[in-house]
Amino acid sequence: MSIVGTDRPRIDADDKLRGATRYLGDLKPHGLLHGRLVLAMDAHATINRVIKDAALAIPGVVAVLTAEDLPTAMEGPMRQFEPLARGEIVFQGQPVALVLAETEAAAEDGVEAVIVETTSHAAVLDLEAAIKPDSPLARIRQIGGEMEGSAAMHVEAAGEGEGAPAPAAAAAEPVSANAKGPHRQQHGDATAALAGSEAVVKGTFRTSWVHQTYMEPQGALAIPEVDGSVTIHSSTQGAFYVRGMVAKLYGVDVSTVRVVGAPLGGAFGGKFNLIDPLVMGAALAVGRPVKLQLTRSEDFASGMPASACILELELGGTKATGLTAFRSRILLDQGAYGDWAMDGAVPVMIGGPYRWSAWDSLSYGVTTNRFGTGAYRGPGGPQVVFALEQLVDELANKLGVDPLELRLKSAAVEGDTGVDGDPWAPVAGREVIERTMQHPLYKKRGSLPANEGIGVAAGVWMGARFPSAATCRVDQDGGITVVTGAVDMSGTNTSFAAIAADTFGVPIESVRISYADTATAPHAPPSGGSGVTYSVGQSIRLAVEDAKEQLLDFASDQMDVAASDLEVVDGMVRPVGSPDRGKSVAHFAEQVTGFVATAPPIEGRGRFAPGNPSPSVACHVAHVRIDPATGEVETLDYAVIQDVGKALNPGLVRGQLQGGAVQSIGWALYEELQHDEYGQLLTGSFMQYAVPRADRVPNVDVDYIEVPSAIGPFGAKGIAEAAVMAGTGAMANAVAAAVGSRIRELPMTSPRVWRAANSR
């Protein structure tokens, strides 16, 4: 009996298919007040006055809250510490006031009646201009304090810490206070190494702001309790994270905040403490339950999307040994708030899954009057891949070698020095590239009709290493209950059930995965960074093993057989080799749970800190056709080849890889949060912001390989971020092959492709 490794339906499939799953928007406690936000119209302005009278006169409107009305205890430079604008508006769509009313309709009417009087300032939008010493500032009022907690999570997951501070002499470029950095990674003499390379290529690349576009908009509900504490129900990836951050903001003890994670209607990195500070503050201010869920348009205007970048990159290589050296300068638009900005990580990430002999890689985070930066699946990845993987292809072309051959020669292996200076963890880049060379879609690239192209690219996600804990209880009926504080992200609970069933030796129907909130759960990391299954899965395995040991100790006494000679198979405890002498797990469970039981109940505990991440490498292969008359790109075929360590549930793994691939097609062809010169959002709904639809994408062929991790449960690696990394590069290389010239700006829309096709 092995459940790990077999394709099984999700354990939450029935509820979701019946419409029975209760998402945040489906909760409605007694006395609920509905919140709606007044969003800023200016991209940059000083708030002179907020006139609330007309709104308060509307029947049903209970309060209109501005920043002064929230009982905050501190300030910080993060969006999460500034839930409503404090005096200065720093992007169009920023929440300025929160209207609370007895009905959603009254709250909406109230929003229309609030008047925000402002004095406008120049909007800072152009990255190159913004970092010049004489640039106007995107933030007139500079807020002190450290960034904390949030960005560090993905920065660490992506590479290693903040980029090393640049030596004073190297930071020659004078910059304005809009620029954060430079973050710089240097090794060897990049200039000399490039000069000594057989071929050198370079280019400047631009990427767009992209929204996570989870189908369930952001939302949270805060309920004040009789003892003065607050319970927050939240569509969040990190319940413990939210608890810590809102407690800090409002100066209360973490024990007075209880966070219950609601089932996630998609998140992709974007659901971290955006709404929670608002409802928490409002509930404290008015003493009633407050719910706020954004509309789609509000989520586009006021969410935390992924940063645009300008990337300058130059790299060199030789035919015999592959890639040699690179030099890069990246401007990362962190918007008005850099909560999850990856400016410290992109100088590392731009090295890709490759070994280099020398590099000089730097970046600036740039404050502008656009949104604030959120995390989005493989943060920083689609941007750096778009630049790196196009140039690797161009270099291969210049050297006259096969593009995958060049990548294979250059793939980093365990122990090679990474761009962050640390040795690479075990990594299967070579295996993935070799497998990709054999893929039928890649082999097809030499025999295509006109206007078609096949492109390939590689990407890596370094993986996360969050610590976690879990418990496992043996129930009266012989089933086991695993308790975790990790919210189910993309089917993690289904994988946990397989891990628990196989580890204990019970049928999967006897396993219950119980999500617990921050008041009762063992500590859990946020569900993100491809770190959940990797860490929590292992904690669960350890907790189940512990419970099983306790059971076997007890059974050993009862059966008069040494514990080491007992096994549990299909819910039966039996001496090894004597299956007919078995007794059910329930038989023993009854004896440790009944009123007259004399032995203690069975409760296993698992704790785990991975120590090291396990990088996952993926190659994407894209086949496109362009219409030279219109510039339209059609994606005809697509394949993902990825090392997943161990596919705990092949169906779920395939789904992750297919979903990641299609999101990267969105990055490549369609998605862009565009602003006009005044900082007004032009693409604020599904009317203008295009996401891939079923008729615009092909089936995605998945061909994963399993090079086991020594750390993750059953050899599993975190897979979801790596699944999105290579797509922008593969699509760009496919489009270049079809068009005959390069497009260096995302997304590759019809006008851009048409210009490239017709400028030859």
Binding site: A13, E216, P263, G265, A267, F686
Partner: protein
Amino acid sequence: MSDQDTALHRVTLTVNGTSRTLDIEPRTLLVHALRNELSLTGTKIGCDTSQCGACTVLIDGRSFKSCTVLAVQADGTSVTTIEGVGSGRELAAVQEAFKQHHGLQCGYCTPGMVLATVELLNQNANPDEAAIRHGLAGNVCRCTGYSGIVDSVKAAAAAGVGK
């Protein structure tokens, strides 16, 4: 708001086989009536421009985005929501196909996707892949990349859902 705007209107409709009478403001959207008045929260709201399809329901057997329909317009009709597709805790064949072929992940687009599939197969019991993709183009899924959904619709067709 004038008194005329907020005066309650009486609407009678059949929802999942049961006759329901509601007194509601004329501006109430069908999706809000279903969710807030009838507590049928399986119908989801994913956008505000009628483009994501999460709120898809059947009205007299045809699929509609219930955020585009005023509840008063549905007066006298028969509405099927996701809660009316299976029978109690039993999944209908179309739902079972989605379950077995990984046609869902986060589940938020799922009710709308299932009802769009019912409509698609009612129109064409044996659609090819292109017809399936075209038929579901009005429903956005961000998790699956659509491959699992297409497989599910094929399996539902093979199980005779549209026949």
